[in-house]
Structure formats: structure tokens, C-alpha cells
Symmetry: C2
Subunit: 518 residues, 2 copies
Amino acid sequence: MNGAQAQLTTLVDNGVDVCFANPGTSEMHFVAALDAVPQMRAVLTLFEGVATGAADGYARMADKPAAVLLHLGPGLGNGVANLHNARRAHTPMVVVVGDHATYHKKYDAPLESDIDSLAGTVSGWVRRTMHPGDIAADTTDAVAASRAGVVSTLILPADVSWAEDARAAPAAPAAEPPGVDDDAVRAALAALRSGAPTVILIGGDGTRNPGLAAAVRVAEATGAKVLCETFPTRLERGAGVPAVERLAYFAEAAQAQLAGTANLILAGATSPVSFFAYPGKPSDLVPAGCDVHALAQPAGAAAALEQLADELAPGVTAAVAELARPELPTGDLTAFAVAAVVGALLPENAIIVDESNTAGIGVAAATAGAPAHDVLTLTGGAIGYGIPAAVGAAIAAPGRPVLALQADGSAMYTISGLWTQAREHLDVTTVLFNNGAYDILRIELQRVGAMGADTPGPKAQDLLDLGRPTIDFVKIAEGMGVPARRVRTAEELAVALADAFTETGPHLIEAVIPSLAG
Amino acid sequence: MNGAQAQLTTLVDNGVDVCFANPGTSEMHFVAALDAVPQMRAVLTLFEGVATGAADGYARMADKPAAVLLHLGPGLGNGVANLHNARRAHTPMVVVVGDHATYHKKYDAPLESDIDSLAGTVSGWVRRTMHPGDIAADTTDAVAASRAGVVSTLILPADVSWAEDARAAPAAPAAEPPGVDDDAVRAALAALRSGAPTVILIGGDGTRNPGLAAAVRVAEATGAKVLCETFPTRLERGAGVPAVERLAYFAEAAQAQLAGTANLILAGATSPVSFFAYPGKPSDLVPAGCDVHALAQPAGAAAALEQLADELAPGVTAAVAELARPELPTGDLTAFAVAAVVGALLPENAIIVDESNTAGIGVAAATAGAPAHDVLTLTGGAIGYGIPAAVGAAIAAPGRPVLALQADGSAMYTISGLWTQAREHLDVTTVLFNNGAYDILRIELQRVGAMGADTPGPKAQDLLDLGRPTIDFVKIAEGMGVPARRVRTAEELAVALADAFTETGPHLIEAVIPSLAG
């Protein structure tokens, strides 16, 4: 078999059987090899950022990596933003970047560039396969490395791909789950037993049912407060799931949540810092004098929390959220009305992919008592994540409805992901919040002004305005094969949402709402 | 003034008065400063690849850099593909990447990443301004460095942007034009006088009227052959302009053009290599035994060619192309019929932005005798260049009609550039070749098969198919505010094209054509 066939076979043998692809000429042997390896599902995207975002969404729901096929340095560049999000989410992913043939690189052909440096900025593992005999072992290593929660990037020269003397490798043994750090557990126990005000900040694998239950049990037994990181990789919530509050996005609000904390226990989360710096405001959000205890990394947070719970709350059962939906609202749409409709109609076992940014302000409260669901969030702040991640989540969990809550500005970075949703007939319902602005930036500009800059003038305001011309997301979605409609009232949204959840395949609902920033 | 105001003032004082922007929170002070510096025109794009591609197209037509405003590492990542093209085009550009405040970086906030490494892969000059007192000098240096034909990337921490103790710098003196290398001229003269078969391969600034005329005069006087590099940055051509043949894209065809050459003179072009490597095919396209003479770099090619012409062809006038347009064709559209319609109707003084890829196969011949025009091409092979470059070209040359010849697959990488065309009411006519496929890859897959790989199977073929579902570019364009229509016959295209050239503002014409690969 040739190198590409050996690579595909090795990926499949190691459990990686979905590949999100945007290939070019240097990947033609990989593409040709797909027919020799029928177990590999190849999903075409029209832009690399859709491929990388889809692989992120896929892995969060499948708990295993997908492969991504990209074309040389520019293709990898187009995938960087969503690889950044994946890096912050600790998502396993195997990125294969096709490169020029080894002997061709010295000629500095037009597409030659420094792929290795580019890959290094977003990958936890990078290797370049130089010999066909190494392709299988390198691929096995890439999968194994990714399972620790990193992006593995394997650079595949075209001549390694087409060389005929390659062989597949046997599957690597499954890795041991990460152990619990006994010293860290002891320190956390001491803090929790101290009686001093303690916050457990959870993240990583601690934001699913077992970790949430353990954290809530500890809280119930000790009086500690549980907070979830601002942007969890995958948060389980809703009726029947222990409820936790999320750390707020804006620093002032997060500081209020953490005020008075004497002990901060980090269970899979990083120490809280302001998302951005602002003049005269602190970056570090840990209250003065608070002791910070690193209990666990993202992988292993649930296990460490369970050890705490076994020790501190052996007989305690975690309280769970009750089924409680908001009433269906009526009248003109607002961000809060959209949230209420979503809360009222969210189907069982849904996956919410959240890139609603400011427009989603009311969603968390409105869905707190909805049927149990997962929420995937924008972990790295690189917008253009929602539409692609919905693609991947739907492919990872074909029986589950995916609801993508999508801000208008962010949608335009990777809008072509709608086409892949149509092509794969995915059960994704996108609620597109159209407020005609980069509303978060309008708010930020006001904050900047409040912090001493001049009052923003018309040129500054204009640069955040998406309403000149108005973007018609219905036409754009239809242009990519996704049925779409526009709604301006809560009643219209309720009908549209119910219809979308009933029919198979993708739908887009453009919800026209006012700007929050006025 | 604050750092952002000092930077904007310095840019304007150095002649950089257009900024293509996609800002985020860390750039809010830059945005707020726009109202304090009215000479700076800020052009909003909905995706960073549109901003960088627009700046490339702008600089090619304006002969000076534009500024680009990007948001942290992910924003720069989204701009990398078109920065790669700009690097290959030797385009001057000043990229400002907003970063976290200097003191905030150590907290590894969610958007933190290695901007410097990322910038290094596409920039000829990179600096990070660490003190407000340096912002003006750093900005002046960035502009000066870019004028040598490179992307300058200046990383601007938020606290440097908002610091109040900054000052603008005086404008830097204009740089000397590059001199002519006398030794290189002597070697080229000897080759041209040797009587042996000689090819002059021109690129860089040699592909405009003066360089073309000089090269053609030398050819007429010596019997040498003139070829233009495959993907020139800006090629002047049409009636009244000396005509040159372009080096072919596929290696076999290029080898045929170069066969028998004893001396190859490089005037602003690099030595010809295959765009990609193929099994058993050479990468280096220079015939065996051919001497290669590097006459000039991209900047200075025209001057060197003129020196050759003065020496070898003092009384010779360069022949120019005569005005000769094809007849308007009739019947069903094909790639060649589109080309004939374009050739028949191209207006005076047009700028053609060419990302038509395979579909544009007939355009060069059909427009050879059209009124004089400029052609901007995909210099680095990173697709998604055409729609953004058309934005920049139209802003640089407001009185000239821009015709963007755009392949369907490539269009989807940066489709949101249409919205900026609408917002700025730019006179851009996009002819969108819709053949429903990555046709170049279908051809490449056939070539791969012909070179010994298995015959491509249905999975491989499916991965190059853009027809499932059909992309409706009319709806997509209208969704972004650009009037659009679909044409299926030559007659319909002629009417649509004439209308588009008559009306102000952007238009898109979706030309449905068959796939060349069958």
C-alpha cells in the first residue's frame, strides 16, 4: 500500500474514522486512498476553518479525535482560529497537513511556507514524516498524543503519501486515564475543612454529570461554592443534572462572584483572569489573600472531585435541577424572548452549540430547567466556531438534535459550514441572532469610553455596524442549501423552532432582535 | 495623544491612508482613534482574509501599502492565506495586530497565543512595540520596511495603544529606487549576444508597460523569446501594450515553452519550478544545460530591462497588441464562451482580478486585444484571493472598472468580501464561474491516476464535488447586498455584463458552465 493508504488504515485502526477535509493537489493521494479504506468517513468542507471547528465539535461529543485534512501552509492558516479554540478546549484532534514532496521544498514553489512554525502555535504535538516507513508509527503517535487533549499535527509530504512501500501499524494500546494527585487532594480537603469561604472552580472533564455531582455534593457537605469556568468545553446541564453557576465573562461580575473567597480550588479549570485587560483594572481575578489550590488538570478533574466527595460527603446526594420551562413569550423579539422560546421548546437530549455572544444573554437562565442537554462553548475566543462545531457535534451524535445559537458577526467567518450541514443532511437548527452589529464591541467601545478614552465618534461606531447593508441570512442559508426563514416575533420563532426540530436535516432561523448596546 | 492616535497619525503622514479592518476588543482604542485622524479611511471587512486580500489588491494598484487591523493571533491566522499571496507578490503592506496588554500576557488569557511565530511565517518584517514612546518610530519603520515589497507586521499591545504619552513621528524620507546590478546586466548582454537560444522571463515590476516594452525591444533585436512568470503581481496587457506569453501552469506545458533554451535570463522572476511535485516528474523546469542568469529582483526588473534595451535595441520600437475583440458568441455557456463575451465587452481601463483557475482557460486569448487593462493574479496559490483583492483594487483605483473572474470553490473561502463591496459601493463586477466542482482537483486526480495511483473511486470523486447541494451564488450575493443574476447562455451573459458595467456599484453574475474534467 502507499503512504496515504497506510495512514488512513492506521487512523481507522486507532479509532479515528471521520476526516473533515479541504484538500488540494498535494493531498490527491490521500483523497484517492479513501476508496481503499471504506471505514473512513470523509466530510468535505469549503473552508479549512470549518474543518477544524467541526473536528473540535466532533471530539467534544465523541470523546475521541477526528482527523482533519488540510492543504499546505495557507490551508493550515485558514484552520488556525478554530485550532486555537480546540487547544483551549483540550480537544483531541489529528491534523494532517499535506506538504510538497520532500525533494520539492528546496525549490521554494509558490505554495511553500513554514508549516512547522505555523503548526507550533496551535498544536501540542507536531511531526513531519520524512520516510514512508515511518508513516504508520507517526500516525499512531499522533493519535496517541492527541488523546491527552491536544491538537496533533502531522505534516505529510506528497512523496511520502504516494510512496508504495508503506505499511499500516497495529493499534496503540489505550492510554491509562490520568491518576489523581494525592497531595493536591489533601490540600483541597484541608481547605474545604477549614471553614473559610471556599470556591471550587470546575472545568475540563469536571463539567459533565459525574464531576458536577461530586462538586455539588462537596458543596452541600461543606458550604463551599461551586463555579464552572466561563467557557466550558462541554457542560452537561438541565433537568436531572446538578446545576452550577458559570464564572461571568466581564471581570467586574466575576470579581463579585469571587469576592471574599479565602480558598479557590481549581478542578480542571485555570486560575480566573480577565478575558482582556482594561486600563486601571486588574488582570488577575483571584481576591487578595485568597489561596489557590490546583486540584486537577482538565483530564482527571471528575476523578479528583469524586475523591473529594467520597471523603467529605459520603452519604450526600447531589441536588439536581428540576424540569421547569419558561412560558412561551409573545410579541416582538428581543434577546430575552429568544431565550425564553428556546427554553420552552428545547427538545430532549439536545446539544447546544453556543456562539451567541451578547445576544445569548438570557439563554442560560431560560434553559436551566429544560430537559438535560450538553452545551459546547467558545473556549478560545476565536469567533467563527459555532457553525463548524455544530457540524461536528451532529456527526458525532447522529441521534441528537443540535441547536446552534449563533451571533451574526461571528457567523460570517465560517458561514460556508452551512453547506456542509446541507450536504450531510445534519439535524442542526441554527438560530441566527441578527442584531446588525458587532454588539460586544459596541459594549466594549462604551467601556473604553467610560475608562477615559474620547467618546466614540461616528467613524468608530460605523466600524462596528453590520447593518450597512443588512445581511440577509435567509438568502445566504438558502444559497448553501439550508432551508431558512426570518422571524420578528416570539410567536413566529416558536413555530419556526418547532418545525425545525420536527423536520430532519438542517434549518436556519434568522431572529431579528434589537442591539443591546442601543 | 494616545498610542493609537500616534500610530494612525504616523501612518497617514507616511502616506498610508486606507486601513482594512476587522477589529476586536484589544483594538478598541485604535478604533476610537479613527475619529481623531480623519485622513485615515477605515474599511470594515467581516473576515480577516478579506482584509489582507484587499490590502494586497490595493497595494498592487496604488503602488503603496495599505494598513490592516487584525485581532490577536486568531485574527492574524485568518489573514495568513492572503498574506501568503501578498508575500509571493512582493506586496507592501502594514499589518497591525492588536495584542493583549504587555502585563496581561503572563496570565495566558483565552485569546493568548504566539503571534510572533505566526507573523514570522508570512512577514518580511515583524516587531512588537513595548513602549508608547516607540510607537511612532516603529510605525515609520514598518512602513519603510514594507515599501521594499514585504508584509510588515507590527504587534501592538493594548496598553501601548491606550497609553497617553505617545507622539507621532515625522514622515520617513522616500527610499531610493533599487539600482541596476551592472555585473548582472553584463552577463545578460553576453547571453543575448551569444546567438544561443535565450529566454527572458519577466516578473516583478517588469510586467508593466515600460518593462514589457524593453523586454520586447530586446527580443526583437536579438531573437530572444520573452515569457512572463505564470502568476504576475500586476500584468499590463491589451491593445497598445507589448504582448508577452505567460509561462504555463502545468509543468509539461512549461517545459515545452522552455525546450531548447540555452540561456534563461530572470528579470524580476524566479527560476521556473513545477507548482507541485508529481511522481517521476522533475521539479526544476530549467532545461538541462541551460545557463540561468539572475538579472534583477522584482523591484528593479523594468530598470534592468530598459538598460538591456538601450544597449541592444536603441532604435527599436516595441510592437504592441492591436485592438481586436472576439465576436460575441451565442448559445450555451462554456468556459470559452464566457471568455469570448468578456473579451468582446471588457471596458476601457479595466482591472481584471483573476481567480478563475481552470474556468478561466480561455480568458487570456480572448482579451489579448481588448482595450488596455491590468491583470492581478493569484501569486501564492492560496485560494480565496479574488473577491478581497477586487475590494482593494476598486478602492485604490476608484475611476476604473474592476472585473473579478472568480471560480466557485475559491469564492467560498472569502465570500463575505461581497458585503464589503456593497458597503463601499465599489464598481466591481464579479463573474462567478459555477462548474459545481473543484475542477482543478478533478484534473489533478486524473493526473495522479495517470501516474500510477488507483483509478479514483466514488469517495474520492465525491470529495471534489461542489454540486451536492448546488451552491446558489445569486442568493448568497443578494444576501450580502450585491445585486446578482444567473446566466446560462452567452447572450444572457452579454446582457448581464453590459448592464453591470453600466450601473455603479457591485454586481455578481453567476455563469453556469460545464466542468472541464467531465
